[in-house]
Symmetry: C2
């Protein structure tokens, strides 16, 4: 085999695996959106086979020999291929540490878990979900033990979602936030409260959907490539490559802002996924590099842009067009204040920017303890409620609005949540940097997202998985990441809104 | 290898292939329903890989050796496994005759063809579709030449969709129908025409969708297993097994009966697919055995039941519930007559039971001539219009309502259409037989489909692909199939409606 042949085989391999990814992402998306309700087992069957096939292709002797050959000729490869080989070897080494039967059993469990979680949430019954969740945490511990027996199992998973992240770093990061955010929340609590009545009312689903598509267009999302679906819990997924991306939302009849900001959030994920360099399609470099960077983009669009005064002023007439009756008598400023109401609450995805990180901290704390063996899954609901009272001062009335609210654990994601808070903070620093060359306020005031998207494309999106998240971020920021930008952003914005 | 191991390997193989089928059916369904519009190429990529993988698994030395081993021990196998081995060997022998590059190229072509056909139909421009359609017919000829060089290429495809069907049999069948149906249409044409104003009006999509789900429930379709989607052209597909089936419909704002009968038609297909014996799931025996039998079920529900006086009397109050304003002043009898209006028209899927076979004959005639090399694809639109004038006496105003109306050719199906007419005729004979033991009128009058479905399950559905269509039919009918039952049914029903 010569280098040229080997590189060609490498691209064939990636192309093949992307077709399996296409199938599996679509089966997942279908299950969450339009699939009939009693078909989870049927999907589990297909996913089990396809993930076994993926596993076999990825870890086959032929694949390993190919990658080792290429790795031994690393210096003759371009940066792109070097990175592909590096990522593939890293993943295969890990995959080979997990026995295939366990890998398949876990995939099967996750399909059923999604179904069980849905039912448990509907019935607000944690006990229904508990046995499956116990298995999921057990699998997470086992996989960590197989792959990185030398580190704390939670460190393994934190690093998995955000290369380089550890309990130590999280503890420090969250402590910094807590130090300044808790006092800020207290000051806001004592100030005169804002009126959020304009986002409440009766908003039919068809109008909300129309509005969602309008929001996507304003963001510069090509609707010919990015679809919009409806699910219990909003999410974004690529289907096989960045040439087909789907976002979902959840419509609340009595609050149009809920779906509005879900759409902008998921739209941020979608823009990141859709804008990998075109030559990365059907390769391991396609799509976002980490959950932290992903959330930096989604929360950037949702909060830093979507909840800004300039954007709200621009979008308000469109809100009035979609909901003329409901918006009667309200101003853009009423809407701006309503969507920035700060109040300790129960549901993370509907919480404000300021208290949001406390919601994340609850989950971080609980995951850390379960993964450390200090807390049992059976006690998760009780502990959840205790921490919500301690951190946010709210009483959790039922599991549906408590421990069952997020889909993450049912999808096997343990260690993902910290990246939401981290992403928020990355975003604020990125905005600070972007302002050096882009007049962000002017863009938002005019509803022109092009210069903003262009900056993100040039500094973040186009790289796909070419760089590790820390390198990507340093490269974009021109300096080390500093969470103080986020804290200052929150303090300035909310001091003004609340006159404190 | 012993027999027991070999049988176990056989089931593993089928289970694996059903997962690939799951993925490919879902990719197709997604593309036709919710996928963003500019993602066809991305789907083509995944489908190309997955069909290549399917091809490789199916034709691998390992698979062939397994099947040959089992075939050489045929006498030791149960009927079920004998049939599986027979079907698999038959398909593999054929697959191996088609060069893999051509097989893959054809799959890729079909994905793009769907897209091109949509655009061409939207623009009513046959020339846009022509180059792709030429390739499709070429592929069909080539595949026939590879697989059965000894027979007429159209005979090959007729047999593919309905085992045993030939040009000779079709010519005879269609001649019999023509002999009696053309005079019937003439007599109806001279009679007093019925008023179909009650099915026309303004019917919003949401109400039509609600009504569709109600119709499915009445038919005894489990909505937890069978989903309903919206597409340009209605169809039914299983996703991986009979445990997940999807039907689609197309809503016409000005005519609720169009979608109503699409739903009942596709619902008939779905019932057949969903009711294979449970132990056939994830095997080659799962689902319907042929297009003719499939159409015998779909057209049975659509016409023999759905357009009957007893059913219309039962369903009329439900129509009024869904469309109270539009139905004001109309009676069940008005609806019965409206949905049985006989009039030579342009669109096959919206045509009445009596003229329907003439629509099919146009397509049969054209396919036969193209496959024989007597007609070129470039002349199809002109010939289509000529035959519509000759057979049905109608002028085709544009390609959208002419040669571009059906999706079949864009999906590669050449030789499928005759099975619609054949299925209609099978259905009439089956109904004749069913009446010996089931009081069909009473069931319909009470909206109780259970005894009807039970008869179909016992005589048709449960067998899946266990028997060849002719054997299955003979077994269900207790005698040879006779198209005169269909002719008599039409003559009796329409003589009464039209007082002739």
């Amino acid at each position: 085999m010569n280098i040229k042949e080997a590189i060609s085989k490498l691209y064939e391999l990636q192309s093949k695996l992307s077709a399996y990814n296409h199938a599996m992402s679509l089966i997942y998306y279908d299950g969450a959106t339009v699939a009939p309700k009693k078909t989870a087992r049927n999907r589990a069957h297909a996913l089990a086979v396809l993930s076994e096939e993926t596993y076999k292709i990825t870890t086959s002797d032929e694949t390993v020999a190919l990658l080792e050959f290429l790795d031994s000729h690393r210096d003759e490869l371009e940066e792109k291929e070097q990175r592909i080989v590096y990522l593939a070897i890293r993943d295969i080494k890990e995959m080979k540490k997990i026995p295939i039967e366990e890998y398949i059993a876990y995939q099967e469990l996750l399909v059923e878990a999604g179904d069980t979680w849905h039912k448990a949430k509907e019935n607000s019954d944690f006990e229904l979900f508990r046995p499956v969740l116990e298995q999921i945490f057990e699998f997470n511990k086992k996989i960590a033990a197989y792959c990185a027996p030398e580190v704390h199992p939670y460190d393994y998973w934190l690093d998995k979602y955000e290369k380089g992240l550890t309990i130590e770093k999280c503890d420090e990061f969250f402590a910094t936030l807590k130090d300044r955010i808790v006092p800020l929340i207290k000051r806001i609590g004592k100030a005169e409260q804002v009126d959020d009545s304009c986002i409440h009312g009766d908003f039919d689903e068809a109008s909300q959907e129309k509005f969602s598509l309008e929001l996507m267009k304003i963001m510069g999302i090509d609707l010919g490539i990015c679809g919009l679906g409806t699910t219990e819990h909003p999410f974004t997924t690529s289907i096989g490559s960045h040439h087909d991306v789907r976002i979902t939302t959840h419509y609340q009849r009595d609050n149009f802002a809920s779906s509005m900001f879900s759409v902008i959030h998921e739209g941020g994920h979608a823009l990141y996924d859709m804008n990998s360099d075109d030559e990365y399609a059907y390769t391991f470099l396609d799509g976002g590099v980490s959950m932290g960077i992903h959330e930096s983009q989604s929360r950037f669009y949702e909060n830093l842009l979507g909840r800004s005064e300039a954007y709200v002023n621009y979008v308000f007439p469109k809100v009035c067009e979609c909901f003329p009756e409901q918006m009667k008598g309200y101003t853009a400023n009423d809407l701006y204040k309503a969507i920035n109401l700060v109040t300790p609450s129960l549901i993370r995805t509907e919480s404000d920017e300021v208290t949001y990180c406390l919601h994340v901290m609850v989950r971080y704390e609980l995951e850390k303890r379960v993964m450390s063996g200090e807390l049992e899954v059976k006690d998760l609901a009780t502990e959840w409620n205790k921490l919500y009272l301690e951190y946010l001062g709210v009483e959790v009335p039922c599991d549906r609005e408590g421990v069952l609210q997020d889909s993450h654990w049912s999808g096997g994601s343990v260690g993902y949540f910290p990246s939401y808070a981290l992403g928020s903070a990355y975003g604020a620093h990125l905005l600070h940097k972007m302002r050096e060359s882009v007049d962000v306020e002017k863009c938002l005031a005019e509803g022109n997202f092009n210069p903003i998207n262009e900056w993100n494309r040039e500094h973040i999106w186009k790289y796909g998985c070419l760089k590790n998240p820390d390198e990507l971020l340093r490269n974009a920021l021109g300096e080390e990441f500093d969470p103080m930008h986020f804290i200052k952003y929150l303090e300035e914005k909310y001091s003004k809104i609340y006159n404190i």
